[in-house]
């Protein structure tokens, strides 16, 4: 209990500081995303009204969307909406952007979760194996495999998996998504191939980081002492060394959450999955400004949140209280 209280005492100020820092950060993000209206070339009102629209129809669209108001008014209206959880209405689908994001979020969360579980299931054992056998053939196999994993674009891997496992072997669906309400296995089998395609880079990165970190920790005095005291090597690795070796890996996992979210744009397109990545791609292609702005604000919020969770975890695990 005493340790937990100390950890809590360490972490609370950290959380407070980070939450305070969020205010200027989100302010900058808000201003930057709002500026998209002016930075993206072309007239949004004309784009929405369509090529065949008359000048009167374009003017009507501009007035309807408030695009004829001064920039500062539009900005305050945008911020006011954000503070009330209103991300605006999609130009393309006449639907609140927040509703579209919330509808698609479970799909992307599912995909990201499956990818992360795959990354951890592959990355941690591979990293431990390579770290324990540093310099031996097992290490080389893991190092080469992770290099290949990092170098393979996820759309290439995704297409290969879809063609070979999805179509030629017909073991798993090559496209689409099924919600969990249709059954756990139905849900999972639709996510396995995209999850692997998305998670392989994270798995490789985790394996590389863990291998470096663990081989370093295994050379430290306390590990030698533990071995000298007669503890089994496996116990030393899994009970003592791994806890310290995982510290940098946790940072990597936090960073990978952001990468995975970015990767969904490609993987969801390849597998025909209608999640946030696909939404982002479609919004950009359609020049749907409120949707793009909403996605940027949402993605920044998620990335910042993941970073905060990593810091908190660090704060709890780091006995020296050096989390920043």
């Amino acid at each position: 209990m005493g340790t937990a209280s100390a950890a809590t005492a360490r972490v609370l100020p950290l959380v407070g500081r980070r939450l305070l820092l969020l205010i200027p950060l989100m302010g900058i993000v808000t201003l930057a995303t709002f500026s998209l209206v002016f930075l993206i070339p072309g007239d949004p009102a004309h784009r929405i009204a369509g090529e065949g629209a008359s000048p009167e129809q374009i003017a009507a669209v501009r007035a309807n969307l408030g695009l004829d108001r001064p920039a500062y008014e539009q900005f305050f209206s945008f911020v006011g909406g954000l503070l009330q959880g209103d991300l605006g209405t999609s130009y393309t689908f006449s639907t609140p952007v927040l509703d579209m994001i919330l509808t698609r979020m479970p799909v992307t969360v599912s995909l990201t979760a499956v990818a992360m579980v795959f990354a951890l299931l592959i990355g941690i054992p591979a990293g431990v194996l390579a770290g324990r056998r540093a310099g031996r053939w097992q290490d080389r196999v893991v190092t080469v495999s992770s290099t290949v994993g990092l170098a393979t674009p996820n759309f290439v891997l995704g297409l290969l998996l879809a063609l070979v496992i999805g179509i030629n072997l017909a073991w798993l669906p090559a496209t689409g998504y099924a919600p969990m309400s249709e059954g756990l296995w139905t849900w999972l089998r639709h996510l396995l191939l995209p999850g692997i395609a998305l998670g392989v880079v994270a798995a490789a990165e985790i394996a590389r980081q863990l291998r470096a970190s663990l081989s370093d920790v295994l050379r430290q005095d306390y590990v030698r002492t533990a071995v000298a005291k007669g503890m089994l090597p496996r116990t030393v690795v899994w009970k003592h060394a791994l806890k310290n070796a995982l510290m940098p890996v946790i940072t990597v996992i936090g960073i990978q959450v952001g990468y995975l979210l970015g990767g969904t744009a490609v993987v969801e397109t390849v597998f025909g999955i209608k999640g946030l990545g696909d939404f982002a791609v479609q919004s950009v292609l359609a020049g749907d400004l409120p949707a793009i702005q909403g996605m940027v604000v949402f993605a920044v919020a998620i990335t910042v949140l993941a970073s905060l969770v990593v810091d908190i975890t660090y704060g709890y695990l780091n006995p020296r209280g050096e989390a920043h």
């Binding site: 007239d43 009167e56 359609a286």
Partner: protein
């Protein structure tokens, strides 16, 4: 085959080269084993921006809306009019009115009878200034209720093209009470149609259920229609190959790979959608008609067809494909590949050393490849073209704003040829970027729109396109070929000419 009433049959005789089957008011499923409890899963390349046919801003919404809304006039697979919610129609002898005889015994979802009053309410709304359909119905001065089953459209001039215009968004029949809540209507369809929307994820998936007691039994052989939006062409084929979809539209480049999928059939057809180079006559050297004519002679369209469309489709010999009711006889010489003639014309215009211009194109592989081939071909006659690729949502608007000298893009098929001609070449048309009208264009088009005989009208429309191509107002390049890959279980499918399949009368065998 459904019976076509007398007046409609007469209209078919005068307007059509063929008047049977297809996607029109009658079904095509000829198998007795159709499973009427089946749902057809379809992969499409786009969703609907709005379910309000009159107030949407995107004409491409027609595809999704056609499942939920019937129109006054339907079209068959040859693009010709067949009865829809109007059982028949006739023009007054002096072309001052078009009378529509309405289908009886049909109701809107809220129980309101479909009658002349409802049609007038719909057409009046579709003709409002802020409506995308106002231009389609521009020939209509007013709508008059004659009796419950008859409406009379007062016309501002000859308007034979109006019949097919009523097969587009402007002819869709919405429940009049839905007009009071346009926001709700934008999100969910409310009108007479084969399907009602059961669930949707805008831009991603639209799940439709069959309408109970639908008036056209032959046109509805499914219990549901599940449309999923898939943008990546390879993903579409993967979905069909792994039985995630029953049917999918495929681009020219994917027709050959699609035909390799076991257990499926691929139907291909050259459609009205075409690739064009459209110059802004107020920019670069395009103010000189000889320069624009030179462009038409400088392009080897067969090479573009092979290079950019894998040979699928057709090299343009005019503004219409070769099997259409409008011949290209009058204009094909103006588009003959003749680089020497192109050089002569440039020399006559004082441009012996050539000139340069910028062309916007779409960030779609087919268009980028087309633009690159054209760039090479123009270079051979001394014209330097710089390509600027933009996303489809921006390309057209950017061109209309004067950001480039020309655009290489796709013109989608319109139900009636005069709609295409008016949209791009009438002086005040928003899409006529130069706002320059070819000499004699208005009179030629008016003559065509006063003629009800299909063959004669085709010749008159050919004369109208002659004014356009003599003026060098556009450089037609190729017609697209659209393929539809369907599981072998799907029956009754006919590839339509316009490119949008309504799947009317299509079924799935048990």
């Amino acid at each position: 085959m459904k019976r076509i009433p007398t007046l409609a049959a007469a209209a078919c005789l005068v307007l059509l080269s063929a008047c049977g089957g297809g996607d029109g008011g009658s079904g095509g499923a000829d198998s007795g084993d159709v499973d009427t409890s089946a749902t057809l899963r379809y992969a499409a390349s786009g969703g609907a921006t709005s379910f309000d046919p009159h107030k949407t801003v995107s004409s491409s919404d027609f595809l999704v809306l056609s499942y939920a809304y019937d129109r006054l006039v339907h079209v068959d697979s040859e693009g010709q009019p067949v009865p829809g919610l109007a059982e028949s129609w006739e023009f007054a002898e002096d072309m001052s009115t078009l009378t529509l005889n309405l289908r009886q015994g049909v109701e809107f979802p809220d129980g309101t009878p479909f009658d002349a009053k409802a049609v007038k309410a719909n057409l009046d709304r579709a003709m409002q200034d802020d409506s995308i359909t106002a231009a389609q119905l521009g020939a209509v001065d007013s709508v008059r209720v004659v009796d419950d089953a008859t409406v009379e459209l007062a016309l501002g001039g000859p308007a034979v093209h109006l019949v097919l215009s009523l097969s587009d968004l402007g002819g869709m029949m919405v429940t009049p009470s839905a007009f009071d809540d346009p926001k709700a209507l934008a999100l969910a369809p409310d009108g007479i149609g084969r399907f009602t929307l059961a669930d949707s994820q805008p831009g991603a998936r639209y799940q439709f259920e069959a309408t109970e007691n639908y008036w056209d039994e032959d046109g509805l052989k499914l219990a549901g229609f599940d449309l999923q939006v898939i943008t990546d062409p390879q993903t579409v084929l993967n979905g069909v190959g792994s039985d995630q979809f029953d049917c999918a539209l495929v681009s020219p480049a994917m027709i050959d790979p699609a035909s390799q999928i076991p257990g499926t059939n691929v139907e291909t057809r050259t459609v009205l959608t075409q690739t064009v180079l459209f110059p802004n006559q107020t920019k670069s050297e395009f103010g000189d008609v000889r320069v624009r004519q030179a462009l038409n002679h400088a392009i080897d369209r067969e090479a573009v067809l092979e290079g950019a469309q894998e040979g699928h489709g057709e090299a343009s010999t005019g503004l219409f494909p070769s099997d259409y009711f409008v011949p290209n006889d009058a204009v094909s010489d103006l588009m003959a590949y003749d680089p020497d003639r192109a050089k002569e014309l440039l020399a006559e215009a004082g441009l012996e050393d050539g000139f340069s211009f910028t062309a916007i194109t779409l960030t779609i592989p087919q268009f980028v490849t087309t633009a690159e081939i054209i760039k090479e071909q123009l270079a051979a006659v001394g014209i330097e073209m710089t390509i600027k690729a933009l996303p489809p949502a921006d390309a057209g608007v950017s061109f209309l704003n004067g950001d480039s000298d020309a655009v290489i893009s796709g013109w989608t098929g319109r139900p009636d040829p005069s709609m295409l001609l008016t949209n791009y070449f009438a002086e005040d048309a928003p899409q006529n970027v130069s706002h320059v009208e070819p000499e004699g264009f208005t009179d030629a088009l008016a003559a065509a729109n006063a003629e009800e005989d299909t063959e004669t009208r085709g010749e008159l429309l050919d004369a109208a396109q002659l004014t356009v191509l003599e003026h060098g107002a556009v450089v037609p390049i190729t017609f697209n070929s659209v393929g539809t890959v369907c599981s072998e279980d799907v029956v009754g499918y006919e590839a339509p000419l316009i490119g949008n399949s309504e799947f009317r009368g299509v079924g799935i065998t048990g």
